[in-house]
């Protein structure tokens, strides 16, 4: 089945089984390897993408869900202004450890900055609660997103 959608600001079309997992479409068909598979059950958030402006675990979404939709992955977000700001802040605090979960954190943080952006720790914790990180203890991730919210406020 032919399915069209917008991927990182480009119109794309793919002819595939509509029940193919979105993560497989992104990684195998489009070579967007920043979307990681950590658990395959929608629990860890390493595969988070934005589908129609909402964070979605791409390992439990199917290609059909993307039909005529808009997808933004970590690679796409990294090229945006807010994405760059977030990367600067994660880099500044040395928050990144193994990094496997971080593209997912970047997506969820970007979504928070776009939709709310208040430098409020409790709100940030809720916004990132779908992403598991085993290395950091989250403290420096919170610091980074708070820092990004504050910098965004100023700009």
């Amino acid at each position: 089945m032919k399915i069209k959608f917008i991927l990182n600001k480009n119109e794309v079309e793919i002819d595939a089984n509509p029940m193919t997992r979105l993560i497989d479409v992104l990684r195998e068909h489009f070579q967007l390897l920043g979307t990681k598979e950590g658990c395959g059950e929608g629990e860890c958030g390493a595969c988070t993408i934005l589908l129609n402006d909402k964070p979605v675990a791409s390992c439990i979404a199917n290609l059909i869900h993307a039909e005529n939709g808009v997808i933004l992955t970590a690679e796409g977000i990294a090229k945006t202004k807010i994405g760059t700001l977030l990367i600067d802040c994660f880099d500044e605090t040395n928050a990144v450890q193994c990094g496997f979960c971080f593209p997912g954190f970047l997506v969820s943080s970007y979504h928070y900055l776009k939709t709310d952006g208040e430098p409020n720790l409790e709100k940030i914790k809720i916004a990132l609660s779908g992403n598991i990180c085993r290395c950091t203890g989250y403290q420096k991730i919170f610091d980074s997103v708070l820092m990004a919210c504050e910098k965004l406020d100023l700009s």
């Binding site: 950590g38 658990c39 496997f100 914790k125 950091t136 403290q139």
Partner: protein
């Protein structure tokens, strides 16, 4: 404070361009999968492949196809790569299977049926550890005792801890490529110890290959000990599939497979009896029985037990102490390395026991610790002398940071009028850096650097960066020593054919052993070439470059350890730490909520403040979750199956974590990797005891566990 050096790999990790194992592809590559036992113990009667598949399309290997030996090289060589007739545990690998299409492969493997003749099996750690008959045989005895008499107050408890899953976010994986002309096997792997993997692949392949060349993936998505020995087995089987199929083979485990078949933290049963002098409040004598559930095979468990018994006496001056360590056998996958390596269990028991004694003696646990903590001149159970007082400094600091004394009073008042309870608890700990005893002598770790014509410095070590920032910190230790530009210094991706064997990435040894060795080498090169600025030296001496320098680690002669009697210097340097945790107990839901965790460390010289803080925070959260949420064993299914039923802490579960490194005169960087996981868990348990007066002898303190303890207490 100077600004922390940033990690060289942070930005590419964030934008998705840093390559982890599954991000690599090779021409003609096919996919592999492991087929494993779902029987806890039994004899394989027959294996039935599903119909509707063309078997010729698949590459299938079993123990019969192994070209070398069917034994995974480990400290104890008792685990086969693949089961032959008898399966000893759920998750034991029976077949390796490869096919060009992932989906076809999965459908095929899911429908393979095995008939087993079932045999008796032990999967409950408590059932395993309570029964002396399950003892593997050997034991370690430490006897630092010259008083056989038992006098004073007597205190005895038995503590249990459960499995813990490493839960590295990137699952295990390997890609093997066979080169028929050179007769070499190249394996790319996500692993901590490339040279262990080399030995695994060469063992399974035997004379079929001349050499196995192991290179890690660019990114190693977490490990925590979980990628210490299992990758040897996985890479071995992947290699055999590549050899048989003649094509590159990639195996990446699904989370379900990974969590069910790989190594975990050893469950423990630790029995402690102590005699104290009620007048001096000092511990006079202590007997400890330290038992670990090793799983079906011993593999590296004796090494875990060695570290465990060397730490289980805690940080206390005990004039008479006897410690006995034993491994027990069960029908679960062999338990293995996990950050802390036997010490979290040891301190979970000892630090809980210390609070229990303090209650018996009606003294505050803080004051009781102050009276009994190591002071300069005291001895470890191995007779090694204590040479620094930094643990007391850590304790005093954390008591002050947390406002322990005033909070304790305040909570006692508050608890009188409330059914929910507030509590505060302490724990302290230590961790010996580097390999136990003579380990570093045996290893003879070697590293090399190459200085190129453009004054770029390439550092070759076998130690991997699995997220702990080792490669950033190592290169920092080199360039800061000789004031070389940061961007001209880079640790190379570990590859066993290019990198000397600087030993495995374990035992909190990478910065402590290899980093300090690298600094020495930097100073030696500077002295030898007699330069002030390396760049200008290279510019004016172009014909001398590129030039290679090597250095071998030779441990200090003062390190003498008798491995038969456990006497002497078990570790040269120790890191120390103290923790205070504040908790809130919800009486209606039995939930133990951790409000805040204060931690103070002595790790010697801190090389990179932010990286060190990040290591500490991550380890502390693992320890807190070890105390109140992570629970592996499920009676009905044997094991959990995914992150859906293994409760890892999320952003909503993590308390505020306060970390401080005390400033000491120590010029060297000591180990940091493991100590954050070692000691904070018992402070959760002790805070619960403070809040409720309820004695808990079994970790973790999940709502279910607490509910059962309170119910059985009420019934009695």
């Amino acid at each position: 404070m100077k600004k922390a050096v940033k990690k060289f790999d942070a930005r590419p990790k964030l934008n998705g361009s840093w390559k982890f194992l599954d991000d690599y592809s090779y021409e003609n590559m096919i996919f592999g999968q492991l087929f494993y036992s779902t029987c806890h113990h039994g004899i394989i009667k027959n294996i039935i492949f599903p119909k509707n598949f063309d078997l010729n399309e698949f590459t299938i290997i079993s123990a019969k196809n192994i070209l070398g030996k069917n034994i995974v090289p480990e400290p104890v060589c008792d685990q086969p790569f693949m089961a032959e007739k008898e399966v000893m545990h759920f998750g034991q690998i029976i077949l390796g299977i490869a096919h060009s299409d992932k989906k076809t492969l999965r459908d095929f493997v899911e429908n393979i049926k095995v008939k087993y003749e079932k045999l008796s099996a032990i999967i409950d750690p408590k059932e395993c550890l309570d029964n002396e008959r399950n003892h593997f045989g050997k034991e370690i005895l430490i006897n630092h005792s010259n008083n056989e008499k038992n006098t004073g107050n007597y205190h005895k408890n038995i503590y249990y801890t459960q499995h813990q899953e490493q839960a590295y976010l990137e699952p295990q994986g390997a890609i093997a490529i066979y080169d028929e002309t050179k007769k070499t096997m190249f394996v790319r792997v996500t692993a901590q110890c490339p040279f262990f993997v080399k030995s695994g692949v060469e063992t399974i392949m035997g004379n079929a290959i001349n050499e196995a060349i192991i290179e890690t993936s660019e990114g190693i998505g977490g490990a925590f000990g979980g990628k210490e020995d299992f990758p040897n087995l996985l890479a071995g089987i992947t290699s055999l599939l590549a050899y048989k199929s003649g094509k590159p083979v990639k195996i990446v485990l699904t989370r379900n497979d990974d969590i069910q078949i790989t190594t975990k933290r050893h469950p423990s049963r630790i029995e402690i009896e102590t005699w104290t002098n009620p007048l001096t409040q000092k511990i006079e004598k202590c007997n400890i029985d330290y038992r670990l559930d090793a799983g079906a095979f011993q593999t590296l468990s004796p090494v875990v037990m060695a570290r465990g018994v060397l730490h289980v006496g805690g940080s206390y001056a005990i004039p008479n102490i006897k410690i006995r360590g034993r491994l027990f056998k069960s029908n679960t996958p062999s338990n293995g390395a996990f950050r802390g390596f036997g010490v979290p269990q040891a301190l979970a028991a000892m630090e809980a026991h210390i609070d229990q004694i303090a209650i018996d003696l009606k003294i505050d646990p803080y004051l009781f610790r102050k009276v009994n903590l190591f002071k300069i001149g005291d001895e470890f159970p191995t007779t090694q002398k204590i040479t620094e007082n930094n643990l007391i400094d850590c304790l005093e600091r954390v008591i002050k940071n947390s406002n322990y004394l005033s909070k304790k009073k305040e909570f006692a008042e508050w608890n009188k009028d409330n059914s929910n309870k507030k509590g505060i608890g302490i724990s302290v700990g230590f961790h010996g850096g580097g390999f136990t005893g003579n380990g570093e002598k045996v290893l003879k770790s070697e590293l090399k650097i190459i200085i190129e014509k453009n004054a770029n410095v390439k550092i070759f070590v076998a130690n991997t960066d699995m997220g702990q920032g080792a490669h950033t910190t190592l290169s920092q230790m080199f360039y800061e020593t000789i004031n070389h530009p940061k961007e001209k210094c880079r640790v190379q991706l570990p590859n066993t054919s290019k990198t000397p064997n600087s030993g495995p990435t374990v035992a909190s040894r990478t910065i402590y052993i290899i980093g300090n060795l690298l600094q020495k080498l930097a100073r030696e090169i500077q002295k030898k070439l007699n330069f002030e600025n390396l760049e200008s030296y290279v510019a004016t001496h172009q014909n001398e470059f590129p030039r290679e320098f090597r250095k071998v680690y030779i441990p200090d002669k003062s390190i003498v350890f008798d491995e038969n009697n456990y006497v002497g210097m078990a570790y040269k340097d120790y890191s120390w730490a103290a923790c205070v945790n504040e908790i809130y107990f919800h009486a209606d839901t039995y939930k133990l909520e951790i409000i805040k965790s204060w931690n103070v460390f002595d790790i010697g010289k801190v090389v990179n403040q932010k990286i060190a803080e990040g290591q500490a925070e991550g380890g502390i959260l693992q320890a807190l979750a070890y105390a109140n949420s992570e629970f592996f064993y499920k009676k009905k299914f044997g094991r959990v199956r995914n992150f859906t039923d293994y409760t890892l802490p999320t952003t909503l579960d993590v308390p505020e974590i306060d970390v401080e490194f005390i400033h000491t005169d120590n010029k060297i960087a000591k180990g940091l990797g493991e100590i954050p996981m070692d000691f904070p868990a018992p402070a959760v348990r002790n805070a619960f005891l403070n809040a409720t007066g309820i004695f808990v002898d079994e970790y973790p303190l999940t709502p279910e566990n607490i509910f059962n303890i309170i119910r059985s207490k009420n019934e009695n």
